[in-house]
Structures are given as C-alpha cells and as structure tokens.
C-alpha cells in the first residue's frame, strides 16, 4: 500500500512518501527512501513496482547529471519532467516502467513547481498530487485544507494531517513516512514520521 504525495507552498515544494518495502505479506524494511534527490534542486518521489522504481529513478538521476556535465547548466524542473515522460512513453509499448512519480523542483526564474507523472506517462503540472491508495485520503485532505502560498509550517501540518488520515483509515497503512523539501536553498530531507524503528 505505497503512498506518495506532494504540494507546493510559498517558495518551496514538499514531497512525502511512505518508506515500506513490502513483498506480499512480509515487510522487508520500513526505512526505504523512495524520494530520490535528482540534483541540487529537484526531488523525485516514486511509487510502484520496486525494481522498476529503483532502476528508473537511478536512470533519470544519472541522465540529469550527464546533461549538467555536458551542457554546464542544470535542467529546469519542467525539462526534467518532460524527459521522464519521454522515457516512460517510449518504454510504455515495449517494457513499461510501472512507476508513478511526483516531481518537485525549485527553479530560480519560476520558483517551486510540482509535476504529476503516472506510469502511462501522463504529465501534468499541479499544485498538489498523490499516488496510491493513500491518495484517496491525502487528496481529499489537501482539497480541504490546501491554499496557495502556504508557509513551511502550514504545509508540514497539512502533510501530518494527511499521514494521520492514512494511518487511521487505510487498512494496511505504511508504518513510517519520510518528508523531503526543496526550496531556493536546495533539496533536502526534512523529517521522518515513524511508528516503528528499523
């Protein structure tokens, strides 16, 4: 029951993901980091098939780095999102990646942005996004409490409300969550929300 969600605030974007690695009824580990830091100012929260997730996120990360080395300038968030969509679309009719992505980034010219990319390669720029069974709770919670230009504290509070809702209402709720944030100072881990130690 993987879950990733994210939202845009005033000058920052937030991505929250669960951290369980599950195989059938067994929880292998509950401190799996599903939010990859693509480069200094991009976060990529991914959920889906475990192998595809690891492979695809690493592939994107290395290609984003390669672009920067070749061209001496980092990709914008929009460009990275379109690159990902292109890769997913090309693979779709051959060997699809079953990975859903929430991409958050901060660009100096355009500020924070959030992109919804599902496994069928549908790309859309959004203010709030969520994937997985937890999305039914997270999206509703965000629809009610989200407003544009939230402060970090307000956004973390909303993320906590979403996590609370997922914990209490989802039958196989994930145990731990990781929160990462990206703003003008860069992309970094913000905090964990744990119920079990690993």
């Amino acid at each position: 029951m993987e879950c990733v969600f994210g939202m845009v605030g005033k000058g920052f974007a937030l991505v929250v993901a669960d951290s369980s690695a599950v195989n059938s009824i067994l929880v292998h580990k509950s401190n799996e980091d599903k939010i990859m830091v693509l480069d200094s100012h991009k976060l990529m929260g991914a959920s889906g098939e475990a192998g595809d997730r690891a492979q695809f996120t690493e592939y994107v990360q290395k290609n984003v780095a390669l672009y920067q080395y070749r061209n001496n300038i980092p990709l914008t968030t929009k460009a990275a999102a379109n690159f990902m969509r292109g890769e997913l679309a090309t693979a779709l009719r051959k060997n699809p990646y079953m990975v859903n992505i929430v991409l958050a980034g901060y660009d100096k010219e355009t500020g924070p942005s959030l992109y919804f990319i599902d496994y069928i390669a549908t790309l859309h720029k959004v203010d709030k996004a969520a994937f997985g069974y937890g999305s039914y709770f997270a999206l509703s919670m965000m629809d009610r409490h989200y407003h544009p230009d939230m402060t970090v504290d307000e956004a973390i509070k909303l993320a906590d409300q979403c996590i609370e809702e997922i914990r209490s209402r989802l039958v196989v709720a994930p145990q731990n969550f990781i929160i990462k944030i990206v703003d003008q100072d860069g992309a970094r881990e913000h905090s964990w929300r744990r119920t079990t130690k690993d």
């Binding site: 969509r85 919804f116 599902d118 069928i120 390669a121 549908t122 790309l123 859309h124 959004v126 999305s135």
Partner: protein, 204 residues
C-alpha cells in the same frame, strides 16, 4: 473500463459563418479519481489551425509533440503554415502508421482553410477521417454531444451566437458524463482574431 475512457474527455468543434469554434472539458482523471481540473486538450498548431485530442492523455501528449514537430519542419521547408486539410491527412497517416498498436486518441481538427473557409474533421484512433459541414464530437461524452449539437446547431451562425451554442452543447453534455467536466475551454476563431474563454459549469 476501455483505455479510451481512462482519463475522460469531451471535445466538440462547430462551423459558423467564416469562423469556427472548438471546445473541450478540463478534467484530467485516472478512472474514478480526478487528478486535475485544468488539463489542456486543445492545442494551437498555428493561428488558423487547432487540434483537439481526446482519449488517453499520455498518447494525446505524445501525438501533440510529434505533430508540432512535423508542422515546424513543414513550416521550415514550405515557408508557410499547413492547410487544415493537409494537416488532417498528416494526422490520419500518422495514426494509421500505428495500425496494429494504435495511439488511443480521437483527434478533432478545426481550421480556416483557403479563403478563410472553416474546416472541421474528426477521425477514429486509426485515422479514418470524418469530414463534416456542421459539427464534430469526440470523447467519453460524445453520445450526449451528438444529441446536444444536433438540436442546437444552426448553419451560418456568427461568432457570438456560435460561442453560446457550443458552450451550451458542451456544458449540458459533460454534465451527464461522470468522466468529463470541471468546466470548459472554448476557442472561437475568426479570420482576424482568436478568443479563448473558460466556462464554469457544474464543478463535479
């Protein structure tokens, strides 16, 4: 559920007197869940040619990117914009190329051709063109749209009356379709200007 109904969409184009209108809904969904209420389905190819793509959002985006690429190349080679009839043939050919692994889209093409004569057409997912003199529809709400357009359409409407008609037809049809909605996006194109308007309907 059919792959054409995965994201939900509604598209309609109508011909008026020396003008045309093309309109779409704004919902992007993943089956029963709504993801966004500002999804763009109608794309401008050039000032007098608009393309609407209903069906699977991913294939609509892929096809749009490919068509913009082809049209830009055409512009470089021919030093002019593509005529709507030519563009329709291009779209048809590109769709039929994928005959045994098609793009899951239903395009609606609307443009002003030679002497600013309005041109509209739609085609199925493998490129079977359907030219019409009055209106064309596509998407999950297409059956409702056929009915609404058939009863509301009159030939030779001016652009204001055309806007009213297409808006009413769109809104009443998407209100009856759970997979499309959340407002409407209407483009009215005359030889001199393009007007873009957002409609507010039942926001559900």
């Amino acid at each position: 559920m059919s792959i054409f109904e995965y994201n939900g969409s509604a598209l309609v184009a109508m011909v008026g007197k020396n003008c045309f209108a093309i309109a779409s809904d704004r919902r992007l969904g993943v089956q029963l869940q709504t993801i966004a209420t500002d999804f763009q389905r109608i794309f401008k190819i050039h000032d007098k040619l608009f393309l609407g793509l209903s069906g699977l959002g991913s294939d609509a985006q892929t096809l749009h990117q490919r068509l913009v690429f082809r049209h830009k190349l055409y512009q470089l080679r021919e030093e002019r914009d593509m005529k709507p009839e030519t563009f329709a043939s291009l779209v048809s050919a590109m769709l039929y190329e994928k005959r045994f692994g098609p793009y899951f889209v239903q395009p609606v093409i609307a443009g002003l051709g030679e002497d600013d004569k309005p041109f509209i057409c739609t085609m199925d997912s493998i490129g079977a063109k359907e030219l019409a003199k009055d209106f064309v529809v596509a998407g999950t709400a297409s059956e409702s749209l056929y009915g609404a357009c058939e009863s509301m359409f009159k030939p030779d409407m001016d652009h204001e009356e055309l806007f009213e008609t297409i808006s009413q037809a769109l809104v009443s049809s998407i209100d009856r379709d759970c997979l499309s909605g959340w407002g409407g996006h209407v483009y009215i194109v005359t030889p001199t200007e393009v007007t873009e308007r957002i409609l507010k309907g039942r926001m559900d």
